[in-house]
């Protein structure tokens, strides 16, 4: 950063600034009601996903054909589906899959994207060119399309779907991380020297991570929502995760033929997806506002 | 309240600011940007508003044109009489007929003052079409004339701002401001963002244009050198108040307020053997949490007990010279200056 017209960055000053910045960010975030609501909702769903199935009244596979399409009752909170399975229990189990796919997909793309971005930014030159072209190629294909084709190639199943969902987002993280290296390059490294000593290495990472965290966090939070929705979409198309797995999107697909007469079979899974994604978006918005308040008003 | 100097109260008074109070609201805190500012200007005068960054100088200038961002800024009370009429009470169309026409402003940062997607010539022609009611062709012709006046060749009128350097952009802004022969020009640190060599050019240009049309000017700056060259009257601003006011000679020769004295003391003196610069201790007060009494007293080397209580009145000195300090005699004695 420029200070008094001179390009100067004392590492220790930077760190002190970052810590108080962090506190300021947390303070701004805590004041934002919507973001707080979003966070609470997400935490509730995560808890439900982890603990829910232990408390679910029925197993998600438990069928009771004589009682199919039952309306809400005391024994079946949200009724039963076309095979007599308890919808409420299936939603609880499904939380694991849907949320799991969303978070896992983002963790996957974040790891790979960060790794690639670091290589591109740090070494520059040929490897950077290669990685940036790779990002270009990935971004030349619309996200969903890429997810579709990877999912089609790999087949259905949880891990395969995680990869399919994450692939499209890699380019985003990669570019963000690499961008953090650019201003540093002009400061510390005048020539593209290979002999970079260890202390620089550590300093670099202490610079990169704090700066990169802000945009990454926002993108990742919104990205989880995007992945959850794409997962549902994939299930709908016959890819991703398939019935009888109670992933919310798969539940929607399976109930499609009954939507005329039993619309609540579609209503509840869709509602779950909508609420979770809404909460994630609220949180993401709040994070973005907290990280750069100038943009808010 | 500042005691009026009766001799100045004649038809020559172009601008009269009385008890101006401006606040900014941010995060539920109130920032007192301008606190009971009063001053008068005669036709043809150049008034220098001097002070540190954040003292409130720009806010005062923007209040005159009423172009403060609202929210968060609010003009709480006061009167701004321009040719006898109160600007703060004017309605939309009357106000707009003054802006860019009778009063215009040059801003501090030329890089962001011009609209990036509109051609430079058109941005100047705008003013002619708005206030002189010219048609497009005539307006553009006049715009080109203004550009040449500020030293920009005519064929560059169809270019976009990003194609100009900082200094040239500022000249465009000046051309825009002077296009309709305003009676009052507000120049907010017009040369701060420019190179020193360009600074001189731009200042000279402003001065000569000013001379030609007898334009009055309020020049905001923190550079005392510029003030000495260009201004007739000086108002020293601190924490949103005018703590000293007078003619150039009065302020430069007999500075009375400890802050003003401190400002001059902070200047390197070519004649004497000075080993260290003498900056004023401490920092300007937080405008959301102003100290009681005299705002400068926490930093003042001559502060007394009673400086921390009550409002500080302006004390009349010689001629037009006024000062917001109760102890000027003591200060003068200590500092060895004359009152």
């Amino acid at each position: 950063m420029y200070k008094n017209g001179m390009l100067r960055n004392s590492p220790s000053n930077e760190l002190i600034k970052k810590e108080s910045q962090f506190r300021a960010i947390m303070k701004r975030l805590s004041k934002n009601w919507f973001a707080a609501v979003g966070l609470v909702i997400i935490i509730i769903f995560i808890i439900l996903a982890i603990l829910g199935p232990t408390f679910a009244p029925y197993d998600y596979m438990e069928m009771d054909i004589s009682n199919k399409f039952a309306p809400s009752s005391s024994s079946h909170l949200l009724g039963t589906d076309d095979l007599g399975r308890d919808i409420f229990s299936r939603l609880l189990y499904g939380a694991r899959y849907s949320l799991g796919l969303g978070f896992a997909g983002q963790i996957f793309q974040l790891t790979i994207g960060t790794f690639l971005g670091c290589i591109a930014g740090y070494y520059g030159g040929k490897s950077e060119e290669l990685i940036m072209r790779f990002c270009d190629i990935i971004q030349a294909i619309p996200n969903i399309l890429l997810a579709v084709i990877v999912s089609a190639a790999l087949g259905t199943g949880f891990m395969n779907t995680v990869i399919a969902l994450g692939v499209g987002h890699i380019a985003g993280s990669c570019r963000i991380i690499r961008a953090q290296f650019l201003p540093l390059r002009e400061q510390e490294f005048v020539e593209a020297e290979k002999s970079i000593n260890c202390s620089n290495f550590r300093v670099i990472f202490r610079h990169i991570l704090p700066n990169a965290i802000s945009p990454l966090i926002v993108i990742t939070t919104m990205g989880v929502g995007g992945c959850i929705m794409s997962a549902a979409g994939l299930s709908y198309l016959g890819l991703g995760v398939q019935p009888p797995t109670p992933e919310w999107g798969a539940m929607l697909t399976a109930s499609r033929e009954y939507m005329r007469h039993y619309p609540n079979l579609i209503l509840y899974p869709g509602l779950c997806i909508a609420i979770v994604v809404l909460a994630l978006n609220l949180l993401g918005d709040g994070l973005r506002d907290a990280l750069d308040p100038k943009l808010k008003n | 309240m500042m005691k009026e100097n009766i001799e100045e109260q004649d038809a020559e008074t172009l601008l009269s600011v009385k008890d101006l109070v401006v606040e900014y609201t941010s995060d539920n805190r109130i920032i007192h940007a301008v606190n009971n500012v009063c001053f008068d200007m005669k036709r043809g005068e150049t008034l220098g508003l001097v002070g540190e960054t954040g003292a409130g100088k720009t806010t005062i200038a923007k209040s005159i044109l009423r172009i403060l961002p609202d929210p968060p800024a609010k003009i709480r009370r006061g009167e701004i009489l321009f040719n006898g009429k109160d600007i703060l009470k004017m309605e939309g169309s009357e106000l707009r007929s003054i802006r860019g026409h009778k009063i215009s402003m040059v801003f501090q940062d030329p890089m962001t003052s011009l609209n990036p997607v509109i051609r430079v010539g058109s941005q100047i022609a705008d003013v002619f079409m708005l206030h002189r009611k010219l048609n497009k062709r005539d307006a553009e012709r006049e715009a080109v004339k203004m550009l040449e006046l500020v030293g920009i060749p005519a064929d560059r009128a169809r270019e976009f701002p990003h194609q100009f350097s900082g200094g040239m952009k500022q000249r465009v802004v000046i051309a825009m401001a002077l296009a309709c022969d305003p009676e009052l020009l507000l120049a907010d640190e017009p040369t701060t963002a420019l190179d020193v060599t360009i600074q001189a050019q731009v200042l000279n240009m402003i001065s000569s244009l000013k001379e030609e049309k007898n334009t009055s000017m309020i020049l905001i700056t923190h550079d005392l050198g510029i003030v000495a060259e260009v201004c007739d009257k000086i108002a020293v601003v601190y924490a949103g108040e005018i703590i000293e006011f007078g003619s150039k000679e009065e302020i430069f020769l007999t500075p009375s307020h400890p802050y003003t004295i401190g400002l001059f003391g902070a200047l390197p003196d070519l004649d004497s053997d000075v080993e260290r610069l003498d900056p004023i201790d401490g920092f300007p007060p937080d405008p959301s949490d102003l100290p009681d009494g005299c705002r400068f007293s926490p930093r003042c080397p001559h502060t007394q007990e009673d400086c921390k209580e009550g409002g500080m009145e302006s004390v009349q000195l010689h001629g037009t010279h006024t000062c917001r300090c109760r102890h000027i005699n003591r200060v003068a004695a200590k500092e060895g200056s004359y009152v």
Binding site: L154, Y236, M259 | -
Partner: protein, 324 residues
């Protein structure tokens, strides 16, 4: 400028080539044998081997790849469906106009509804108008599209009977699909426009315009909006990608015989030529759209136009004029 356009078009080619190779390889190395699927489970090994030779699937990978690329780039031939034996390219050409109409319809609606919504919200910031608009926008990006589509079908087609639930025919068949597909786009566009408008309203040149004596309306529409729309154009390309993706799924919901349904049918049947052909074709379309958007940029923002014209050499990391 012409040089820039030519350069971009030329650069597009290797990208499309590599994408084609990538897609081909992904399908090639994916598990599952198409021959077995075609012949059914009861075919003998001899039959399988014969069929494989007949389809050219016993050739080495490179040969198959080369053959595919050659046919695509020089003959516009994407192969034939394993199952129907019909030309993939031919089928795409029949179906694509429908998908295109759908995607373009969604995009147009996004802009026509989303931008004014965003401008209104920005101008009335922090009032109830602003909050309502933004609540709708937030809901819009959170609701799953196909779920929304299904709900719309339930209400408007099944219960009220106003609009058809599936198929194509006249314009009324596109109403529900386009509405369902636009909700995301409208919401995104509204949010984007609002935030970009707010940023522009705060800028120095707007203050300058005010200081010149312009009316608030003029400032809004002549000075602020053109600048605020620049980032909006920027995401148009992205939004088109999303519309295309949405088309994939929504075509299935509404049984519209476009590329979306073709692709999903191909996936279900493991009919690789169809899958390959559709994906590569869509990638190509997308690249072209992005190029057009980048060009549209130049018309709107003179700074970008200048930058394009300067671009003869490689872009250096330092050389970006705009980030002052």
């Amino acid at each position: 400028m012409i040089r820039f356009i030519t350069k971009r078009i030329i650069l597009m080619i290797p990208v499309v080539v590599i994408v084609s190779i990538l897609i081909f390889s992904i399908m090639y190395f994916s598990p599952g044998d198409p021959v077995e699927v075609i012949l059914g489970g009861k075919a003998t090994d001899v039959e399988i081997a014969a069929k494989r030779a007949e389809m050219g699937l016993d050739e080495p990978f490179i040969v198959q790849l080369g053959d595919f690329l050659y046919k695509f780039f020089f003959k516009m031939d994407l192969g034939r469906s394993y199952i129907t034996q019909k030309s993939v390219w031919g089928e795409i050409m029949v179906r694509f106009p429908r998908t295109l109409m759908f995607a373009v319809g969604c995009m147009v609606l996004s802009v026509v509804v989303g931008v004014p919504l965003g401008v209104t919200a920005a101008v009335h910031r922090n009032t109830w108008i602003d909050r309502t608009c933004m609540v709708f926008a937030l809901l819009g990006i959170s609701l799953p599209e196909f779920w929304l589509a299904m709900q719309l079908v339930i209400i408007f087609a099944l219960k009220l009977g106003w609009l058809p639930a599936y198929g194509i025919g006249g314009p009324q068949y596109y109403v529900l699909p386009v509405i369902a597909g636009s909700v995301h786009g409208i919401a995104k566009q509204a949010r984007q426009t609002r935030s970009s408008m707010l940023e522009v309203i705060r800028s120095d040149y707007v203050t300058t315009a005010r200081a010149k004596g312009h009316s608030e309306t003029t400032i809004l529409y002549k000075h602020a909006l053109p600048n605020a729309l620049i980032p909006v154009v920027q995401v148009l390309g992205n939004n088109f990608a999303i519309s295309l993706g949405g088309a994939l799924i929504l075509e299935n919901v509404f049984s519209i015989p476009g590329i979306g349904t073709y692709l999903t049918a191909g996936i279900a049947a493991r009919d690789y030529p169809i899958v390959r052909g559709c994906v590569i074709f869509l990638a190509l379309v997308f690249s072209i759209i992005m190029l057009l958007v980048d060009l549209a940029f130049a018309f709107i923002d003179p700074r970008i136009k200048a930058q394009y014209e300067k671009q003869g050499a490689k872009r250096k990391a330092t050389g970006r004029e705009i980030n002052v």
